[in-house]
């Protein structure tokens, strides 16, 4: 019991039960079970490649369960999170969720973190017609078109396109208008998707693609790649990369000197304190996507309180101290599920799914409405530029001003310093 089936307020529960048992004897036990908890089950990357993000997501979800239980739970019943480590391995997913459903008898399942562990969930959810809440999956539902799937990453109904929309919109507005673009990304799932979108945008916006390359994730030195890109003399460089390559590419760009007008786009890793503080002022000028930044224009009800609580716990848990990327959204995807259960007064999968499909939700990441394919009805990928970054102090990233929102217009908080080289000074 100590190992799994952990509630957000587990400790308090145990203490409570213990006191109860001591005070009233064993007769008290059935009473404690009267309000049987509503169980939400999932696998989460607690080890393996994505464990850093997985642990942060788990922490936020536990905060949600705590919040709900403090207010008396859902439908008067406490909420319990049942989770196992999926080790970031897709092959572990079928086993974990079958156990959750058949042995632990959870009421709802939500996904773990990332596209690859969401994919194997579909057959299981579809066989039993379950509501499936997805956490940061990219275009998982494209072929399957499962109607009970809802995904929280705000990349919009067409994720591949929504992802890089801002980068291209912003670029197209600059004078003189950029003409050429280089596309480069890691040879893996996310970069591949992002580059597909970027290629299409390049065509639509009339930029000529002068370099289009993939590199293996195990690359040691990125200078040859940056040089090859530099040799094609592009105006724009769109990069879709994972954290280690993000660092390598930015470092190499600094060393080689990349005389381009805009640089960045889809680099994963720059959303986290670890890379932000290490790269420091080298980031200035880089344009990149974000889902949340602490700019005055981006102020959702409850987010600041959430982040304050999260940041207080983060240090001890050894997760990202900022929590701008995954935590609010992992809080929000269970928040939506909870709101739907409350609203329908039901644990029925069909009713809950229909409700989520039909309604707009107020969450700590703002208003969320889902499109028929389970993605956000409208993309809200922010395109930001790093400005005024100095040194490696983490506090500067907690405040407004270092990541200025350029796109979409609704949230815009500053203007692009153009070209890239100018922002570097």
């Amino acid at each position: 019991m100590a190992w799994h089936g952990q509630t957000g307020t587990r400790r308090r529960w145990i203490v409570g039960v213990l006191i109860g048992v001591m005070a009233l004897g064993t007769a008290w036990a059935p009473a404690a079970q009267a309000a049987e908890p509503i169980k939400i089950g999932f696998g989460m990357a607690l080890t393996g490649a994505l464990a850093g993000n997985g642990k942060a997501a788990l922490m936020a979800m536990q905060m949600w369960a705590e919040d709900v239980n403090k207010k008396g739970g859902l439908l008067g019943r406490p909420v319990e999170l049942v989770y196992y480590d999926d080790q970031t391995k897709p092959a572990a997913v079928p086993g974990i969720y079958t156990k959750l459903l058949d042995v632990d008898k959870v009421n709802f399942i939500v996904s773990g973190y990332g596209t690859n562990v969401i994919a194997p969930l579909f057959p299981i959810a579809m066989e039993r017609n379950l509501v499936l809440m997805g956490l940061f999956g990219m275009a998982n539902n494209e072929k399957l078109k499962y109607k009970n799937y809802f995904q929280i990453m705000p990349s919009g109904p067409n994720p591949a396109l929504g992802w890089s929309q801002g980068f291209f919109e912003v670029a197209a507005k600059q004078q003189p208008k950029p003409q050429t673009i280089a596309l480069v990304g890691a040879d893996a799932e996310y970069p591949h998707n992002a580059l597909v979108g970027a290629r299409e945008h390049a065509k639509n916006f009339g930029f000529k693609v002068v370099y289009d390359g993939k590199y293996p994730p195990s690359t040691v030195d990125y200078t040859p790649i940056i040089r090859a890109i530099k040799a094609t003399n592009p105006d724009l460089v769109y990069v879709a990369s994972y954290p280690p390559d993000t660092a390598g590419i930015i470092q190499a760009a600094q060393e080689v000197g990349l005389p381009v007008k805009m640089f960045g786009g889809g680099m994963v890793g720059l959303q986290f304190a670890a890379l932000q503080t290490k790269l420091g002022s080298k980031l200035n000028g880089v344009v990149n996507y974000e889902f949340y930044v602490p700019e005055p224009t981006v102020n959702f009800p409850g987010i600041n309180e959430f982040l304050a609580r999260y940041q207080a716990q983060a240090e001890k848990a050894g997760v990202d101290p900022l929590g701008h990327y995954i935590p609010p959204f992992s809080y929000a995807y269970v928040q939506i599920l909870g709101q739907a259960v409350e609203a329908t007064k039901s644990l029925d999968q069909k009713k809950v799914a229909e409700y989520i499909q039909a309604n707009e939700f107020n969450t700590i990441v703002g208003k969320v409405k889902f499109a028929p394919n389970g993605e956000w009805a409208k993309s809200r990928v922010l395109m930001v530029q790093f400005q005024n970054v100095q040194g490696s102090d983490v506090a500067q990233f907690k405040k407004a001003g270092t990541r200025v929102v350029l796109y979409p217009e609704d949230w815009k908080s500053g203007t692009l310093i153009y070209p890239y080289s100018k922002a570097q000074k």
Binding site: P224, T232, E255
Partner: protein, 290 residues
């Protein structure tokens, strides 16, 4: 997209990275090439070196290279312990090769997971004044981040080469796998010689680890990516030949760099391993072997 400027830069980048590869491979060149100890856990020790450099940098502000140097005795001691275990468990019983291989596989796992438990899976980087700086010679740009590892790698190579060829212990190490009987007759304990050599090979991992974290971010299981590369280098270089190891490192570095520049980087690993497979099949003694 081909140009002389690109070609030159690609070659220089390859040579720089090659110097670093040499630093990582030297340890295996000694343990595998000279002692017939298949230490596939070597890259894990290199990663351990990286994390040592990281921790010392984070908490005391030490320069990674300084840490690398300061910790060589610690790694040497670690090597003595590992060799002792290996000797007691396998070599003494004459079961070294296959079970020893499995033993090191387990050691690789243990080191990796221990680091995971201590530091988590996040990538770690290091700050140093020279990271991010670069200078130009003509059209060729050279980054300090790559130049320093290359120079240190070269220095370690030269030092090891001199040690092996000029000193008594060095020559004994070279002789130990071929003729331990003769050593015994000269009153030298071959086990002691092997212990010194193996510990020395692990000691190089301290420096190599410091170089690794200078070049790029490091996470605990990144070592696996180096196993193949490093063995490719040692086999190409002709098992235990220090100069051959250096040459093979540079060749591999340049080939990788050229593929990355000209034909799409996603084929780079296949190229280096393809070379290894072909060399193994055609000329198992390596390009520079006897």
């Amino acid at each position: 997209m081909f140009s002389l400027d690109l070609l030159l830069n690609a070659i220089v980048a390859g040579i720089l990275i090659g110097g670093f590869y040499a630093a990582v491979s030297l340890g295996i060149s000694v343990s595998f090439g000279l002692l017939d100890i298949v230490n596939i856990a070597h890259p894990a020790f290199v990663i351990l070196g990286s994390y040592t450099a990281y921790a010392m940098n984070r908490f005391f502000g030490f320069d990674p290279l300084l840490t690398g140097l300061l910790f060589t005795p610690v790694f040497y001691a670690l090597g003595v312990v590992v060799y002792r275990l290996y000797y007691l468990g396998f070599e003494r019983k004459g079961e070294e090769s296959l079970r020893g291989l499995v033993f090191f596989f387990g050691v690789l796992f243990i080191v990796e997971v221990a680091l995971l438990l201590a530091y988590g899976v996040d990538y770690r980087m290091i700050e140093a004044r020279y990271v991010g700086q670069s200078f130009h010679i003509g059209v060729v740009g050279i980054a300090f981040r790559l130049l320093l590892p290359c120079l240190v790698g070269l220095m370690v190579t030269v030092a090891l080469h001199l040690f092996l060829s000029k000193t008594f212990y060095g020559r004994a190490i070279k002789a130990v796998s071929q003729d331990s009987q003769a050593l015994r007759l000269m009153g030298v304990d071959p086990v002691k010689i092997k212990r010194i050599a193996f510990a020395l090979s692990i000691a190089t991992a301290s420096l190599a680890g410091a170089l690794l974290i200078l070049i790029g971010p490091v996470e605990p299981s990144i070592g696996r990516e180096y196993i193949g590369r490093v063995f490719a280098i040692v086999v190409l270089g002709g098992m235990g030949s220090i100069s051959g190891t250096l040459a093979a490192s540079v060749i591999l570095g340049v080939v990788e760099s050229l593929t990355a520049t000209f034909s799409g980087p996603s084929w780079a690993p296949a190229v280096s391993f393809g070379i290894l497979l072909v060399v193994l099949a055609v000329r198992p003694a390596g390009l520079f072997g006897r």
